[in-house]
């Protein structure tokens, strides 16, 4: 199945799997561009406060909605704030929250999914019914209920996103596990008398990990979508914190006269999401996984 990877293994001294994967991904144009975009965004998110030209909340009544010029490379918004600064800092909240929530979601969803796929039985039946019922509700309703109850702080958003977005991962991990469990080498391990935990660790993990890695990339993409949509609607980050969703919402009213306050965050957000997807695509090809099976939302 993973023809991209295994046929590379011809020499006796084998480099680690991670190094091989990264090399495969970078060898494709989609992977190269994607990874570049993602890393660029992450670096910006981490280090932008150190080289941003202006203070993101500094308002300037004399330069409202001014077009790009020598001082303000991308112009100013309706409160006179520098758009360049706010744009390069606009991803910080979103990336911070989602970059923490994604591994959490994949971890808990993956573990539970593997366990259910292995155990089966009544627990599996019941939990999958609950999962189905849960997925019947639109994501935004679920998010909003949480926010309205507990507020919009990071301490709420990270666990909420991790909790809700881990649920589709359960499905994926369970399906992948069920596929593998039916295979003889798992039966052989069971027949030898290995414990369930040991089987999970030795036989399943590695094989399910590939699917989870690709799914993880997609989860990150969906979470960013959720986070920025919430900000756009006014339920996420609160001003004056710069955030792309919020910036796009603000700029809508003035688009006719000043389009650039909308352009900058649109391009920034789009490029990050495109980057993640290109990377996920290249990763899936390198690992030999069919992406159409990946879960949605």
């Amino acid at each position: 199945m993973s023809d991209g990877l295994v046929t590379l293994v011809t020499t006796t001294a084998r480099p680690s799997r991670i190094a091989l994967v990264i090399r495969e991904v970078l060898s494709r144009p989609s992977g190269f561009i994607g990874l570049f975009l993602v890393i660029a965004h992450v670096l910006l998110a981490l280090f932008s406060p150190f080289f941003a030209p202006f203070d993101f909340k500094a308002m300037n009544a004399n330069a409202i909605l001014s077009p790009p010029d020598a001082t303000h490379w991308l112009g100013t918004d309706q409160l006179g704030r520098d758009i360049l600064t706010r744009t390069i800092m606009g991803g910080r909240q979103a990336i911070l929250v989602t970059a923490i929530a994604t591994p959490l979601a994949v971890a808990w969803g993956g573990l539970l999914g593997i366990y259910l796929g292995l155990a089966g039985g009544r627990l599996d039946d019941i939990l999958m019914r609950v999962v189905d019922a849960f997925l019947a509700l639109p994501w935004i309703l679920k998010m909003l209920l949480m926010i309205v109850t507990f507020g919009t702080g990071i301490g709420v958003l990270i666990p909420t996103l991790a909790l809700f977005y881990g649920i589709p991962v359960i499905r994926i991990a369970r399906a992948a596990t069920q596929n593998i469990v039916a295979r003889d080498f798992v039966l052989a391990a069971r027949a030898r008398g290995h414990s369930r935990v040991s089987i999970m660790r030795r036989e399943l993990f590695g094989n399910v990990l590939d699917a989870l890695m690709v799914e993880g990339a997609m989860r990150w993409s969906w979470m960013l979508l959720a986070f920025t949509s919430l900000s756009f609607l006014g339920f996420g980050v609160s001003p004056p914190t710069p955030d792309w969703g919020l910036m796009i919402a603000d700029s809508r009213n003035f688009m006719a006269i000043a389009p650039w306050p909308a352009f900058a965050p649109v391009i920034a957000l789009s490029s990050l999401i495109i980057g993640i997807n290109l990377t996920a695509d290249a990763l899936a090809k390198a690992l030999g996984i069919d992406r159409a099976q990946a879960a949605v939302h």
Binding site: T7, R14, R122, A188, A189, A191, G193, H194, G206, N207
Partner: protein
């Protein structure tokens, strides 16, 4: 003579571009001519290129393959360069394919009748209104009962044998001049196979079509073909009439191949043909068989032999065909069984019943037990220490299920499995004690599946060593190497992944993994069935050697009667999950024997051109075992009467531990089988 040539493959070489960019050949310089009305068998193992050649005869190349040189000429025109519109007319119309797995090759969304009609519409010369009648006629021609019903069914509603017959009918619909058969009976039960082959040879004779029969099974080819071509590593190495090739072939590979096939009549282990064919592109400048050849000389390595005509007719690709005669084609002497005494009973299956019926949600809620007939029932077998007992049967016989129950992967619904001195074995693995887990080891059929593709061989072997003996570090490594050497692999295999090993090597690793635990009982589930014929014998040899060295007991499951005979001391024959007979191997394979055993033995295809299988059992698909009476009641050719349906057959003692479950008394059975058509195949048992 040349005017009669229908298919003419001329110097054809086909290959694909490997990862490194090199062109790797799958077929090399094939020259093959087939005349009208001729039946040719193309024999080869995996990697021989036989399927590629067969498809090339229809002008078809699988994705990724391309022509390096040569032509595939049909009726005077090269198919490989023909425009697709004309190809469409020829495929199905002049030359038709009967595929390997008809279940997968028939479109699932169209009814059988519709698919046959499509073939008629494309190639037949009839008018539209005549189609329905012709469809029925075709189905009758392939001996399907109730053709109208079959025509209205979907492919998945038919049994394997029925699907294959439909595929044959579909191929005949276009009234082609040539039929191409790509392993058409692989995957079918022994008895079904025999029926299909009989049909095919009948068609070959009556309809006077050219037939190209591609298979790895020499027995099937012996049944149908008058001429045999042997392929190895993408080349034709031998071409001649069936009798010569199958009894006294002129090429070392063919001789080695014949010697490695287990025979019913010869109870010894076949001679192993060690090594494996070179992968595409790896063959050196000389003969491709040189590494495995018993008579190879230095020049064989440097010059590639051409295909020379033989005095006796036919062609051979060998520098020393006269010397080839010295290679034996069968092994005499050394039977596998240790003979004589064995130890205490190790395993006793008493009234064992296993059921796969699943509980529906409603049943679970109501606490009801699943209804229905058990998959396995009333099985009583005693296995003594150090012996090899073979479990033989076709699909649905329950033999694998019994093995899984002994292994603890499925719990019995009734009865018990007693082990050693500790009494009844706990039903599932989770409940068993560590020594029991260690002492009972299971080896699976398909080595591609039973080894984790992400683990190195070292990691695979480490698992039992760590689990059962707590070994680690140097001690672990030393023991791993020791075990690898026992299965005739070396320390350099430790770092490899399963995908880098051949099928035979992988199976040896699986065997090594089982023996690493120092087991008392090894359960072999069709361990040779997924391997090439020449590799099978090496594995059997290995298993026999290991048994001698360590006194391990085997329960050896297989559908291949000859393989079981070669290795086993005692044999149990199963049908639909019930026991038909148990006894010493020699006794079971001769008369008297159970009617089902008789049918099985009659259906076995030996690679002997003179042999004709005897068809006894009806070719019916069994959906589930009968609720009462003898399991074989629906198909038995010696059915007594209604007693077979109502009463469980009694256990009749034929002497020396041979027990037959049949309503017919032993004496009657013996005399009836003596005069039957079975004659030579089922010899009288001499005690």
């Amino acid at each position: 003579m040349t005017g009669d040539v229908l298919i003419d493959v001329q110097n054809l070489s086909i290959g694909f571009t490997g990862r490194s960019g090199k062109l790797l050949p799958v077929l090399r310089n094939i020259d093959l001519g087939v005349q009208r009305g001729e039946t040719v068998g193309i024999v080869g193992e995996s990697g021989s290129g036989k399927s590629t050649l067969a498809l090339a005869m229809m002008g078809y190349l699988k994705h990724g393959l391309r022509v390096i040189s040569g032509q595939s000429v049909f009726d005077g025109r090269d198919l490989l360069t023909m425009p697709s519109r004309e190809l469409q007319r020829i495929r199905g119309g002049k030359i038709a394919l009967i595929p390997q797995n008809s279940g997968q090759s028939l479109s699932p969304n169209l009814r059988v009748g519709a698919q046959l009609t499509e073939a008629l519409a494309l190639h037949g010369k009839l008018t539209l209104s005549a189609f329905p009648a012709r469809v029925i006629q075709l189905l009758q021609q392939v001996r399907l009962p109730d053709p109208e019903v079959i025509a209205s069914r979907y492919p998945h509603e038919l049994s394997g044998g029925q699907q294959q017959r439909v595929a044959i009918a579909m191929a005949l619909a276009g009234e082609p001049e040539a039929l191409l058969l790509d392993e058409p009976t692989t995957g079918l039960d022994v008895t079904t196979q025999a029926h299909i082959l009989e049909l095919l040879s009948d068609i070959a004779v009556r309809l006077d079509k050219a037939m190209i029969y591609v298979s790895h099974d020499l027995g099937a080819i012996a049944r149908v073909c008058s001429r045999v071509v042997v392929m190895y590593a993408g080349e034709i190495v031998l071409d001649g009439d069936a009798t010569t090739v199958l009894t006294n072939p002129g090429h070392p590979y063919a001789r080695g191949l014949l010697a490695s096939i287990p025979r019913l009549g010869n109870p010894s282990l076949p001679m192993a043909l060690e090594g494996r064919p070179p992968p595409p592109g790896d063959a050196g400048p000389g003969c491709s068989f040189v590494d495995r050849c018993a008579i190879a000389e230095a020049p064989c390595r440097s010059e590639r032999p051409g295909l020379h005509p033989l005095l006796t007719g036919g062609r051979v690709r060998c520098r020393l065909p006269e010397r080839a005669e010295s290679i034996p084609t069968k092994r005499d002497g050394r039977p596998a069984s240790a003979g004589g005494s064995f130890g205490e009973p190790l395993v006793r299956l008493s009234n064992l019943a296993i059921s796969y019926a699943r509980q529906s949600l409603v049943d679970q809620l109501l606490g009801r037990k699943p209804q229905g007939v058990p998959t396995v029932d009333r099985v009583d077998i005693e296995i003594r220490q150090g012996e090899v007992i073979g479990l033989v049967g076709e699909s649905g016989s329950g033999k694998s299920t019994i093995l899984k129950a002994v292994a603890g992967l499925v719990g019995p619904a009734n009865g018990e499995i007693a082990y050693d001195k500790s009494g009844a074995l706990p039903a599932t693995v989770e409940q068993r004690r560590p020594e029991q887990l260690r002492e009972i080891q299971l080896i699976f059929q398909n080595p591609d599946e039973s080894l984790n593709p992400r683990h190195t061989i070292e990691q695979i072997l480490a698992q039992p060593l760590q689990l059962y003996f707590g070994l680690s570090g140097d001690a672990l490594r030393e023991r791993s190497i020791a075990i690898l050497e026992r299965v005739r692999l070396g320390a350099h295999y430790l770092d490899r992944l399963p995908s880098q090993l051949s099928g035979g090597e992988k199976q040896r690793v699986a065997i090594a993994r089982a023996f690493a635990a120092k087991p008392k009982l090894v359960l072999c589930d069709e361990v040779t069935s997924a391997l090439d014929v020449s590799v099978q014998s090496a594995v059997l040899d290995l298993l026999d050697q290991l048994r001698r060295d360590s006194g391990t007991t085997y329960i050896f499951v297989s559908h291949d009667l000859a393989v079981v005979r070669a290795l086993s001391d005692r044999v149990a024959v199963l049908y639909q999950g019930r026991l038909c007979e148990v006894g010493p191997a020699a006794a079971v394979y001769s008369r008297p024997c159970h009617p089902y055993t008789e049918a099985l033995l009659g259906a076995v295809l030996e690679p002997d051109p003179g042999a004709r299988p005897v068809l006894m059992a009806e070719d019916i698909m069994e959906l589930s075992p009968p609720a009462k009476g003898c399991p074989f009641q629906r198909r038995c050719h010696r059915k007594v009467g209604s007693i077979c349906e109502s009463t469980t057959p009694p256990q009749r003692d034929a002497g020396a531990g041979h027990v037959i479950h049949c309503h017919i008394p032993i004496g009657e059975l013996t005399s009836a089988q003596t005069v039957s058509a079975l004659g030579n195949v089922v010899r009288p048992h001499v005690q």
